[in-house]
Symmetry: C2
Subunit: 210 residues, 2 copies
Amino acid sequence: MSTPLAHIVDDDEAIRDALTWLFRTKEVASAEWDSAEEFLAAWQPDWRGCIVLDIRMREMSGLECFDVLQERGNTLPVIFLTGHGDVPMAVSALKKGAFDFLEKPFEDNALVDVVIRALANDAKRQASQATQVSVTNHLALLTPREQEVMNLVLAGKFNKVIADELNISMRTVEVHRARVFEKMGVRSAVELAQLLAPSRDKGSGSSGEH
Amino acid sequence: MSTPLAHIVDDDEAIRDALTWLFRTKEVASAEWDSAEEFLAAWQPDWRGCIVLDIRMREMSGLECFDVLQERGNTLPVIFLTGHGDVPMAVSALKKGAFDFLEKPFEDNALVDVVIRALANDAKRQASQATQVSVTNHLALLTPREQEVMNLVLAGKFNKVIADELNISMRTVEVHRARVFEKMGVRSAVELAQLLAPSRDKGSGSSGEH
DNA sequence: GGCTCAATTGTGGTCATCCGCAGTGTGGAA
DNA sequence: TTCCACACTGCGGATGACCACAATTGAGCC
């Protein structure tokens, strides 16, 4: 598990140093990358924190870097910095999920505020996703038959009906049911339903709404 | 129930007419408003569709109008049009929840595409919220005591325990419990938990994440 | 061939839920 | 005052859920 870092991606060393210094004075841990390529090569999906991304860089631009990150399933908030951004660029970036878009020159405090909000945002997202992952792991412990029974239990059916649908005895259903509760760490069907309710999507898996 | 309309809010009659004509050729129903004030005076929370909002107008600006709408709980997607927008303005609008931000001059087709996406977006949001509203309405039918019992049932507690906590008899709990199921249109605690799971927020009620 | 694990089933009993029947008390609306 | 919604209660029975004890079968593994 990595500590949350504000990743500064900029090919201008003077700016990187200034930002690093700025963040350090505000007690925000940061890391420096002098190109999008270098950053992308190092990037890991389990990194925490946020990304401060300059748009104009010598090789790959910040926008291209952002696209690659999104394809790879990045969840870190991305804050764009730009010297001469135009409106369509900013709109496009935000609609694609960027966290913020700042034009130079910006106030130091403004950037720090945004970064701190981004870090908080990521921490919250991370926390809410942790329980989700835990649930998925527990779910993986269930045998196929147990999952089958669990789904029917969650459909609100009686053991008798479940037994009938699966062509097994009621007693067997009871055993599976008990094992499901045990493995999932709950004590009743109600708790199970609440545990699984937020993670039960049957629709499309697309993330953006634009 | 109102039909979905693209509300054009602009004090320039020539532009309104052009947009109305444009939308009509694309079979998008629209309405015209020649000032933010007039639109706000007419606005109703149950309107469906989207809002095409010019930023620079004689009296109240589009941005101010947007703020008022957000305060009133507007859910319609808002598409900003502007002649000379700057990046901070666009970023601020989008972060506050605007659907899109277009600079003039824009392609007719680009605007129509955005409007159509906005209409689809609203329709989807509307549909998913309809069931939510239904649940809330059913919830409102419950007497205070019934809601109390329901919450304890959802906490996975036995009737016996609930009776104890409320200092009433088990039989009374059973009666309330049965009424809850009846009024909510479910047949078991599991169904109730699933029905209410997505709408159970205990945290802050803020809408934006920025 | 033993070993483990998943899946299966039965018996008998305890506890919880659900429900009909029957009744009391209170406060507000007609 | 009469009527009604709400909350409350007891009894007894039917049904469902849960559990300890006990056991069989088949698949995969050392």
